[in-house]
C-alpha cells in the first residue's frame, strides 16, 4: 500500500488551496476528487466574487477554479480524479474507488475538504422530477449548457437562490418567483435588486406547499406563512412553472470524519454536524484537518483561507516549524477574521465560536 505525507480529500477551493500550500512548503501531497475536473463547485459559478480582502474579488468562480488548478499543477502534488474516497480505515488509511478499481492509500496527515450537499425541504411531491437543488441547476446550465426547464420557481432567497435566479435569466430561462419563508430577503441587496429590476417577484413570508404534476413538475402551490413560519390558511395559490429549484442551504459532507472517529458536534449555524477543530483547522485527532464547507457552511473565499491554514499547519506538523508556513497561517487567519466581522460572516463566526466552546 502506498503512503503519502498528506492526503487531501476534495478538489474544490478548500482542497486545492490546502494541497498547493502544503506542496509548496515541501510536503508530498496526493489530492483525490470524484469529479473529472478540479474546482469543485467553482466550475459552475459564473458570478464575480466580491467583498472580501481575498485577492480573487472581482474574478468569476470558474476563473478562480482555473487559477487554483494551475497553481496546484505547478507543484509536485499528485492528483487523482474520478476517484471517490469511500471509507476511512485504521490506522490512517483511506479506501479509494475509481471506475474499475478499489485501492487503499495510507497517509501521515489527512485534510478533509469534502464540501457539502444540497438540502431539501418538506412539501408534497418534493421528489417529483423537476425539483432540483440549486447546485444541480447550476451544473446543468453553466457546466453543460442545458436548460433545466422553461419557467422556474426558486425556493430560498439567500445568496445562492438570488444568484442562481439571475443566472437562469442570463441563460434565457424565466423565473416565476422567488419565495422566502422569512420576512426578509436572506442574501445581498445587490443580487436582490438585480432580480427586482428584471421584474422577478421576491415573495417574503411565503413558502412552497406542494409540487403539482404526474411525471414531472407542472406547477406549484405556494402560500403565505405566519411569524411562526407555519402556512396561513386560505392563502394557497397556484404558480405556473415546470421546474422547482431549492436553494435552502447545505449540509457538511462529514461521513469520513465520523468514520475516522473525530469528535463531532451539531452546530446549526454551521449547517449540521461538524468536526470540532482548532484555529489551525486540526480536528480532535492529531494529523486530521478540515477546511471549507465540511468544517461549517460558509463561502468559497473562506474555504480558500481555511485550506491555506490547514495545508500550512499539516506541512509544519510533518516537516517541523517553518517561518513561511507561520506567515501563511497568520495572514489567512487575519483575512478570515475580517470576513467574519462583516454582516454576512456573523453566522459562521458565531458557529465557529460555539464549536470551540462545545469542545472545551
Amino acid at each position: 500500500m502506498k503512503t503519502v505525507d498528506i492526503a487531501v480529500v476534495g478538489g474544490g477551493p478548500a482542497g486545492l488551496s490546502a494541497a498547493t500550500t502544503a506542496a509548496r512548503l515541501g510536503a508530498q501531497v496526493t489530492l483525490i476528487d470524484d469529479n473529472p475536473r478540479l474546482g469543485g463547485q467553482l466550475i459552475k459559478q459564473t458570478h464575480k466574487f466580491f467583498g472580501s480582502k481575498s485577492h480573487y474579488c472581482g474574478t468569476r468562480g470558474i476563473d478562480i477554479a482555473t487559477i487554483l488548478e494551475r497553481e496546484l499543477r505547478a507543484t509536485a502534488a499528485e492528483v487523482l480524479l474520478e476517484t471517490t474516497v469511500v471509507g476511512h480505515y485504521q490506522p490512517r488509511t483511506l479506501g479509494l474507488a475509481s471506475r474499475d478499481r478499489f485501492s487503499r492509500l495510507s497517509y501521515r496527515c489527512l485534510i478533509v475538504a469534502s464540501g457539502a450537499a444540497e438540502n431539501t425541504i418538506l412539501f408534497e411531491n418534493n421528489d417529483l422530477p423537476g425539483v432540483y437543488g440549486a447546485g444541480a441547476v447550476q451544473t446543468l446550465m453553466n457546466v453543460h449548457g442545458v436548460r433545466p426547464g422553461n419557467r422556474v420557481l426558486m425556493v430560498g432567497s439567500g445568496n445562492i437562490g438570488l444568484i442562481v435566479s439571475y443566472q437562469l435569466i442570463q441563460a434565457g430561462i424565466a423565473v416565476a418567483a422567488v419565495v422566502e419563508a422569512l420576512p426578509k430577503i436572506g442574501g445581498y441587496h445587490v443580487h436582490a435588486a438585480k432580480l427586482a429590476r428584471l421584474g422577478v417577484p421576491i415573495l417574503t413570508s411565503h413558502t412552497i406547499r406542494a409540487a403539482i404534476g404526474r411525471d414531472s413538475v407542472a406547477g406549484a402551490i405556494i402560500c403565505r406563512v405566519g411569524r411562526n413560519l407555519r402556512p396561513l390558511p386560505r392563502t394557497d395559490r397556484r404558480l405556473n412553472c415546470d421546474t422547482i429549484c431549492l436553494a435552502v442551504g447545505l449540509t457538511p459532507l462529514s461521513e469520513l470524519l465520523w468514520q475516522a472517529g473525530c469528535r463531532m458536534f451539531w452546530v446549526p449555524e454551521l449547517g449540521g454536524h461538524v468536526a470540532w477543530h482548532d484555529e489551525m483547522m486540526q480536528t480532535s485527532i492529531p494529523g486530521i484537518y478540515v477546511a471549507g464547507d465540511v468544517s461549517g457552511i460558509e463561502e468559497a473565499s473562506t474555504a480558500m483561507l481555511e485550506g491555506r491554514i490547514a495545508g500550512a499547519a499539516a506541512a509544519q506538523a510533518l516537516l517541523g516549524p517553518n517561518p513561511d508556513a507561520a506567515g501563511i497561517i497568520a495572514e489567512a487567519k487575519a483575512e478570515l477574521a475580517a470576513i467574519r466581522q462583516g454582516p454576512f460572516g456573523e453566522k459562521a463566526a458565531k458557529g465557529k465560536k460555539l464549536l470551540a466552546q462545545l469542545g472545551a
Partner: protein
Amino acid sequence: MLKRTSKRPRASRHPLTANSGRITEHPILSFERGRELTFYFEGRPLKGYEGETIAAALVANGVRLFRYSEKLHRPRGFFCAVGKCSSCLMVVDGQPNTMVCMEPLREGVRVERQKGRGRLP
C-alpha cells in the same frame, strides 16, 4: 384542494419533450461541446456530446423521469447532480444503480429507467 399524484404512475408513453433544449446564447459562457455522440434511451437513439454526463444529455433531450422508486413506484429524476443524493440511479449498459449525474456519456451507451432496486446483470 391539492390533487395528489398517483402512487403508481404509468410509464409515460411520450417522454417529456416540453422542457428540452440546450442554451445557445449566453452573455458570459460559451459552451465548447465535444464530439456528437449517439446513445440509446429505452432503446431510442438520442444525441448528446462527449464531455457531458448522461444526466445532462437526457435532460437536454427532454427526459426528466429517470427511475421509479422501490416501494411506491414514484417517478424520480435527478436532484443534486454531484453524485451525492442517489436520486438519479439508472440502468446503464445493463448495470443498475449507476449514478447518471456523474457517469460520462459514451458512444452507443444504453440507458434505461430503473424500477426499484434494479436487477444485477
